[in-house]
């Protein structure tokens, strides 16, 4: 059965000055990510990247600068996974340690291009 590709968008709600993870927590997350990555190594096509908060928005009327501080959520990163269907993609993403980070939601969207 052919697999579909899914783009996973990491959305962050601004945490309003709340401190980020401590070094010790980061170490635990690092360990958890490595376990997850190994567990789903066949499904994770591209670990993607984090995105910086500043950016540009281009429209016909011009170019606007970020950061988009007024936005309730910003896209903070992405990755690409493969699965047979949404259930399969959800299984991979739900196990991702980022799910537990405060203010983070992960959006899964099937890519319409060529199936694998």
């Amino acid at each position: 059965m052919s697999k579909r590709r899914y783009l996973v968008l990491f959305r962050n709600r601004p945490t309003g000055g709340q401190p980020g993870a401590s070094p010790e927590q980061m170490q635990q997350m690092f360990a958890a990510y490595n376990v997850w990555k190994e567990q789903f190594k066949d499904a994770i096509l591209d670990m993607g990247d984090k995105l910086r908060s500043e950016g540009r928005v281009v429209t016909a009327s011009g170019v606007a600068d970020g950061p988009f501080v007024e936005a309730k959520e910003v896209v903070g990163g992405y990755m690409i996974v493969s699965a047979e269907n949404y259930d399969g993609a959800v299984e991979v993403v739900r196990a991702c340690p980022a799910v537990h980070a405060p203010g983070v939601s992960l959006e899964i969207r099937e890519m319409t291009g060529a199936k694998m």
Binding site: G20, S22, P23, E24, Q27, M29, F30, D49, K50
Partner: protein
């Protein structure tokens, strides 16, 4: 890899503060925090780089440089004081010169122990900058609120910002007059772990291990390698050896005579003995020497019964002379009671009037209850027992007292 992120935090803060100056401490901490966050993502994606320390340094350095450059108000300071920042971001300290990193960590430790900073703030500053704990983690470990930790930290940072001292970070050797303050902060840190009522062994052990790590740093650096430092390090190792055996499986406290001596940590015992031997040079005999000596007597006694109680009583007498405290008097009475009989122990407390803070403290009444019971003064024993139980600060202590003080006379 254990505590790698936390310890790298301390190392990078110390090295970067040295390069840009203490006034930029907060910017340095932010940059280091950011570098670790970046590492988390990048290393998950493509693995840990070969020289992860240099990688982290480069990322933190570049982001710090960006922030300081943006801050126009500080431009002049930057130009005059931070020339080295304008390099290519390669870490100037290669692993070959690990001694220099040790210098920076030690310098940071002395900065944290600046006498113009209140002592409780010194402890928090060291935990934050050198040990890499977050404010929340410090609050959890010190049984206080995050707001309180934040306040203490702010007080320390204000002192550092205002202070004329330390901004030019003189050579480590010039800090030696501050050594007693450094010893006090390290021992405070150790006791926060050792005496903690956290039931999780790991939480208590962690603070003890941090204190031993800093003590080892101190003991292995020529500027601070002194007999007093060795005695402190010996004392911490000898206490740490017994940490795991002080509680039963449910977190209840165990008496020394109830502890399983086979659980004592051989490596800590070995280190403790070695540092104690090194501490015996020179002509100084400090409270750390006396306390390490007492700990060693307990650690190397074959059993509770075969402990050299008279040697311990003598060490407590020396401790009383160096650092007068009725607690030492009380401990001496306990040792005398074991070594020469409860009558001798009780007699040594004749005429001792406890100060207000000890009168009504459970330890005072507990010792008197025990000694009176053993010499057969049932009424006095019962009176002190009731006082001790009423004053017990925690359930674990009350349970221990009940067990210890209701035993029938032998």
């Amino acid at each position: 890899m254990e505590h790698y992120f936390r310890h790298e935090y301390g190392r990078l803060v110390a090295v970067l503060v040295r390069r840009v100056g203490l006034r930029h401490l907060e910017a340095v901490e932010d940059a280091v925090q950011g570098a670790l966050t970046t590492a988390l993502t990048a290393w998950v994606a493509s693995g840990i780089p070969d020289n992860s320390g240099a990688w982290l340094y480069r990322v933190a350095h570049n982001s710090l440089l960006g922030v300081l450059r943006k801050d126009e108000g500080r431009q002049q300071i930057l130009d005059s004081a931070a020339g080295p920042l304008l390099d290519d971001g390669e870490e100037p300290v290669s692993p070959v010169f690990a001694g220099e990193v040790r210098d920076e960590l030690l310098r940071m430790l002395f900065v944290c122990c600046n006498e113009t900073i209140p002592q409780e703030s010194r402890l928090v500053l060291a935990l934050k900058t050198l040990c890499g704990f977050s404010i929340g983690e410090i609050a959890f470990r010190l049984f206080t609120t995050e707001a309180n930790v934040y306040k203490r930290l702010a007080r320390a940072r204000n002192r550092l910002r205002l202070g004329e001292v330390d901004l030019e970070t003189p050579p480590v050797e010039l800090f030696c007059s501050r050594l007693p303050s450094v010893h006090a902060v390290i021992y405070l840190l150790f006791n926060e772990g050792y005496l903690s009522t956290h039931t999780a062994h790991a939480i208590r052990a962690e603070l003890c291990e941090e204190a031993i790590r800093l003590g080892t740093l101190l003991a292995t650096h020529p500027a601070s390698a002194a007999p007093t430092t060795f005695a402190l390090l010996a004392l911490m190792h000898l206490h740490a050896a017994r940490l795991a055996s002080r509680r039963d499986a449910t977190g209840g406290l165990l008496l020394l005579e109830e502890q399983d001596r086979t659980l004592w940590d051989g490596e800590h015992l070995h280190q403790g003995a070695a540092w104690l031997a090194r501490s015996a040079h020179g002509d100084t005999f400090t409270r750390f020497h006396a306390e390490a000596g007492i700990a060693a007597e307990h650690c190397f006694a074959p059993s509770f019964a075969d402990t050299r109680w008279n040697a311990i009583a003598e060490l407590y007498a020396m401790l009383e002379r160096i650092d007068p405290s009725p607690l030492h008097t009380l401990n001496r009475a306990v040792a005398l009671a074991e070594g020469q009989g409860p009558e001798v122990g009780l007699a040594s407390l004749d005429g001792v009037v406890p100060p207000a803070w000890l009168d009504g403290h459970y330890l005072w009444d507990a010792v008197l209850a025990d000694l009176h019971r053993r010499v057969g003064n049932a009424a006095a024993a019962e009176r002190h027992r009731e006082h001790a139980l009423a004053a017990a600060p925690s359930t674990a202590v009350r349970q221990l007292l009940e067990r210890r003080l209701t035993k029938t006379a032998p």
